[in-house]
């Protein structure tokens, strides 16, 4: 251990005392290797049985720009974002001034004291934890790249001492992380020990911010939504993924690739039971999925705003010619290039009605990583059953951040629903097969795969107007019949789409409606408002078109708060348009600053609405 003196900060600040309930924010420079170190911290907290939610707030950049990793630790399980920072790991000189401002009075700032902290950065009411990270690494590691990387590991080691993280958990995590690269295990553990020892030698450890083992994570996993989607595609029977790289959707295909390499290699021949095509653009990506879907294989593409915009024409073709496919839209901030690495639920309207003419698409809204897995698997059944595109609407918040959720389960008795597909034998028994005949009066016609029967069942698929037998027509009445049948099909769709999740109806006068990633903040909102005597029923919508129960829920409440993560209240608009809901009954709360809406934001908006509310009705108690 080198003799290094910590920079004195000579403060006697009142320290905050918090156990299992605080926010640690890491401010780093993109590309400095901080991500895996910070992740190690979050996962240690998870392994200690304490609810935790890490969030990456990163730039659209490879190296050099600021990046933050926010870790909220909450014994109560409040895992949304919280703006108050209790402990800052200040590793970025570009942002340190602003970062320090975010720390609450009595909070802590860990910084690299190899360089003297500028006077301007000294706040009287926070505690400083100076550690000469650079000097320690310079002394201990000969390799320049390692010197940089291990600064991150050293501060994790220090955090273990400061916060009382079980050191064994950290070392076991290093072993897990570098399995197969054993050479790296020892230096990493050494770096952890350096930080740990330095903290013990120079500070009173632990701090008054502390972690205490808990048992809240039994039966839970810590997973990000995109990984869950990719795995869901493997379980759902997808064989073809065609895509164009686009943040924040890229890791969907990375995950599919990873699990296919492990689970989809034929043991006898070593050959692949899957194909991944990195297409030349998103147009080709969705075209490939359509060609595969038409020919009877399960295919998907994953993208985000700009890519989904490019896919519009093909979505119209698939809707009108009735070809199944699954599109995962991991939404990011638009319009245009927008903020590529920030989150939004801004594509609701553009996806519900994607493409020109009267089109409408099935949308699914997963709210947890577990639902990302489940709805990914379901989406292929739904697309096959309804012979139409299914768009799974995730977002960057849910897709790229790890969240705690229940373990994934697969029912081994489940058989894929390939929908109405005729075999050669079935075709032989049919006198007049017509591709678009509504035989069952449910709007869903029967399809055949190319090559099924030598004499029967062939048809010509087209995006131009066609009759019930798939023949070209410019007869307006025949066209209208097909369009009406498609509308009927969307009524039938409700039989196959997940119902909204409605909280125990306490028959409150107030309700709250939301989708997707908003879900993670709801419990905190309910508990905090409950303390103020305000109770709400909640409804988490899982699919579009909306079930009848969606309208019933809103009708049964005097006022319903509709939470949107976009400027234009798109969920509210869609509810108004599609469920014939009186707009007056809906109160819009929206956030569109690129990060997840906070519980505080929703609470404030609801409280603000109250005076008006009391004028018009007796709500609330």
């Amino acid at each position: 251990m080198p003799k290094l003196v910590a920079t004195s900060t000579s403060t006697k600040v009142q320290s905050i005392t918090k156990v299992n309930n605080f926010v640690v924010k890491f401010a780093n420079v993109n590309g400095s290797g901080s991500a895996s170190a910070n992740n190690m911290f979050a996962k240690s907290v998870f392994r200690m049985g304490i609810p935790v939610s890490p969030r990456n707030i990163f730039p659209s950049n490879i190296q050099g720009l600021p990046t933050w990793y926010e870790v909220r630790i909450s014994e109560d399980g409040y895992l949304g974002r919280c703006d108050n920072v209790d402990l800052l790991i200040a590793m970025n000189e570009q942002t340190i001034k602003e970062d320090i401002k975010d720390v609450i009075p009595g909070g802590y700032v860990l910084y690299d004291s190899s360089k003297v902290l500028a006077n301007a950065l000294v706040r009287e009411n926070v505690n400083y934890l100076p550690i000469p990270l650079k000097d320690i690494c310079l002394h201990e590691f000969p390799n320049p790249a390692q010197r940089q990387l291990f600064k991150n590991i050293v501060y994790i080691g220090a955090l273990a001492a400061f916060l009382k993280i079980d050191f064994k958990i950290l070392t076991s995590m290093v072993s897990d992380q570098f399995r197969g690269k054993e050479k790296l295990i020892l230096p990493n553990i050494h770096a952890l020990e350096l930080g740990h020892q330095y903290a013990i030698d120079n500070f009173k450890c632990p701090l008054r911010l502390q972690l205490k083992r808990s048992n809240k994570n039994k039966g839970k996993i810590l997973m990000d939504g995109n990984t869950a989607v990719g795995l869901g595609c493997v379980y759902g029977g997808a064989t073809i993924a065609s895509w164009y790289p686009l943040t924040p959707s890229t890791s969907v295909v990375d995950s599919f690739d990873k699990y296919c390499k492990r689970l989809r290699i034929d043991p006898g021949t070593g050959k692949k039971k899957y194909s991944i095509i990195q297409a030349e653009d998103e147009l080709a990506a969705i075209g490939i999925a359509i060609g595969a879907g038409w020919n009877g294989a399960r295919a998907f593409t994953a993208s985000s705003g700009p890519g989904v915009s490019l896919m519009q024409e093909f979505l119209g073709l698939a809707y009108f010619s009735e070809v199944p496919l699954v599109l995962f839209n991991i939404q990011r901030v638009g319009p245009s290039t927008g903020m590529p690495t920030r989150t939004q639920q801004g594509d609701l309207l553009s996806c519900a009605y994607a493409s020109h003419g009267d089109t409408k698409h099935i949308l699914l809204f997963p709210a947890t990583p577990k639902e990302c897995f489940e709805l990914a698997t379901d989406s292929f059944d739904i697309a096959d059953r309804l012979q139409t595109p299914v768009i799974v609407m995730s977002d960057l918040e849910l897709g790229m951040n790890e969240q705690i959720c229940d373990k994934l389960i697969w029912d081994d008795n489940r058989i894929y629903d390939r929908g109405k597909v005729l075999t050669s034998e079935q075709l032989e028994e049919i006198e007049n097969y017509g591709r678009y005949q509504d035989v069952d009066a449910d709007g869903i016609p029967y399809r055949t795969y190319p090559g099924t029967n030598a004499n029967k069942g062939s048809y010509f698929t087209r995006g131009s107007s066609h009759d019930a037998n798939a023949a070209y027509t410019e007869d307006g009445n025949v066209y209208a019949e097909v369009m009406d049948r498609l509308a009927r099909k969307f009524k039938t769709a409700l039989n196959y789409l997940p119902e909204p999740e409605i909280s125990d109806m306490k028959k409150q006068k107030l309700g709250m409606v939301f989708i997707g990633s908003t879900n993670i903040v709801i419990q905190e909102v309910l508990d905090n408002l409950g303390k103020k005597g305000i109770s709400l029923d909640t409804m988490c919508i899982k699919a579009f078109p909306f079930h009848k129960s969606v309208k019933t829920f809103i009708d049964n409440h005097e006022l319903v708060y509709v939470i949107d993560q976009n400027r234009d209240s798109q969920l509210k608009s869609l509810l108004k348009l599609e469920s014939n809901i009186n707009e007056e009954k809906m109160y819009s709360i929206s956030n569109y600053n690129g990060v997840l809406i906070t519980a505080g934001h929703i609470e404030e908006a609801i409280l603000e609405s109250m005076p008006n509310l009391q004028e018009t009705s007796e709500v609330p108690a």
């Binding site: 392994r47 996993i221 810590l222 997973m223 379980y235 029977g237 064989t239 073809i240 699990y259 689970l263 989809r264 034929d266 021949t269 070593g270 050959k271 692949k272 039971k273 899957y274 194909s275 095509i277 030349e280 653009d281 147009l283 080709a284 969705i286 075209g287 490939i288 359509i290 060609g291 595969a292 879907g293 038409w294 020919n295 009877g296 294989a297 024409e313 093909f314 073709l317 010619s321 994934l408 697969w410 029912d411 081994d412 058989i415 894929y416 055949t448 795969y449 190319p450 090559g451 099924t452 030598a454 004499n455 062939s458 048809y459 010509f460 698929t461 087209r462 995006g463 131009s464 070209y472």
Partner: protein, 351 residues
């Protein structure tokens, strides 16, 4: 254009092929193209080619983009599934279809607007990906359905019916296909059945990406004396690098050729192409030579046709990706789903 239903009558003495099918069994619906359209000759050539080689109609999938050219799949092989997709995007749909079932024969039909303008990107990438298919471009140098605008394959100086002159160099799709790694590249003329039918047959039997650029005059908008894609210019400047015969694997080779007069190419399935030299020594295995020939003739205002290039030692996409033998669209739960026990293990990696 015809507006009556096509009669289903078949003459009882029509010749049948090995599958017991007649030429009529390979036809499609009645054409809606203009009388004399080159594209109808292409349909006829495909029908003849498929019937002669006894292709099972339902084992073929026909995929096209948008435009006059892309209507062609309606007019042949009505027992095959067809897919008329969106403008310029046939290659991606064909790629997906091919991935889903490697056992069908795929015929992609496109036009010069579809492949050389709006779909040039997709054209390039399907060539790179080596999809096992026959890709035909019905090339008339003009946009027929929108009434005669110049297309990107129109040669510099070529004029349309309204006198509009092409100010830009053309895109030569055959050149491009050779450059990008297509393993079978030919050029032909809708008016030359003798050459076109065996080329189609060879292209269908070639394992890998086979491309045929077919000059197919637009009689309504681009058949002037000043158009390089009209009948007059094509007949006058048409040079066949070789004459071609196609002998399917099942047929006994009865014609004999004296040594040195014909080049024999045996395709993967055992069928054979014979190339009879007509204009000097032409080696279709030589990529640089092929490009040289095309460009040399072009400079002289001539159109080099025939089998321009062939390479039988490349792999198709399925081989490159090492996919299983069974078509993806026949795989079910048992083949694809890892089951709950595996999921229990996966859960542990997220603890």
């Amino acid at each position: 254009m015809s507006y009556i239903n096509k009669p289903k009558f078949k003459h009882p003495q029509l010749q049948t092929n090995e599958l017991g099918l007649t030429r009529r069994d390979y036809e499609g619906t009645l054409t809606t193209l203009c009388a004399g359209c080159g594209h109808d000759s292409i349909s006829a050539a495909i029908i003849q080619a498929a019937a002669d080689m006894a292709l099972e109609p339902h084992k073929v999938a026909k995929i096209s983009g948008i435009g006059c050219s892309s209507k062609i799949p309606s007019y042949f092989l009505s027992k095959s599934h067809g897919f008329n997709t969106v403008h310029g995007r046939m290659p991606s749909v064909a790629t997906g279809a091919n991935l889903a079932n490697k056992e069908l024969a795929y015929i992609g039909i496109s036009g010069d607007g579809d492949s050389a303008s709006i779909g040039l990107g997709q054209f390039c990438h399907i060539v790179r990906r080596r999809i096992n298919m026959l890709y035909i471009v019905a090339n008339n140098g003009t946009y027929g359905l929108t009434k005669g605008q110049l297309s990107a394959t129109a040669d510099l100086g070529s004029k349309t019916k309204t006198g509009e002159e092409s100010l830009y160099d053309n895109i030569d799709l055959a050149n491009l296909a050779i450059e990008l790694g297509a393993s079978f590249v030919a050029r032909s003329f809708s008016g030359d059945k003798q050459q076109l039918i065996p080329l189609i047959q060879a292209g269908l039997n070639h394992k890998g990406f086979a491309f045929i650029d077919i000059i197919s005059p637009c009689v309504t908008f681009n058949n002037t004396d000043y158009s390089t894609h009209g009948y007059k210019n094509t007949w006058e400047n048409y040079i066949a690098l070789s004459e071609i015969d196609f002998v399917p694997m099942r047929k006994e080779i009865t014609t004999s050729y004296s040594a040195g007069k014909a080049k024999e190419i045996t395709l993967h399935d055992g069928s054979v192409i014979h190339l009879h030299k007509t204009s000097g020594k032409y080696d279709p295995y030589d990529k640089e030579n092929a490009l040289h020939h095309i460009n040399k003739h072009k400079k002289q205002g001539k159109i080099a046709t025939g089998l321009l290039y062939i390479n039988q030692s490349t792999s198709d996409l399925h081989e490159l990706q090492d996919t299983v033998d069974k078509p993806f669209n026949t795989l079910g739960n048992h083949d694809l789903c890892p089951g709950n026990e595996v999921l229990i293990d996966i859960n542990e990696t997220f603890r």
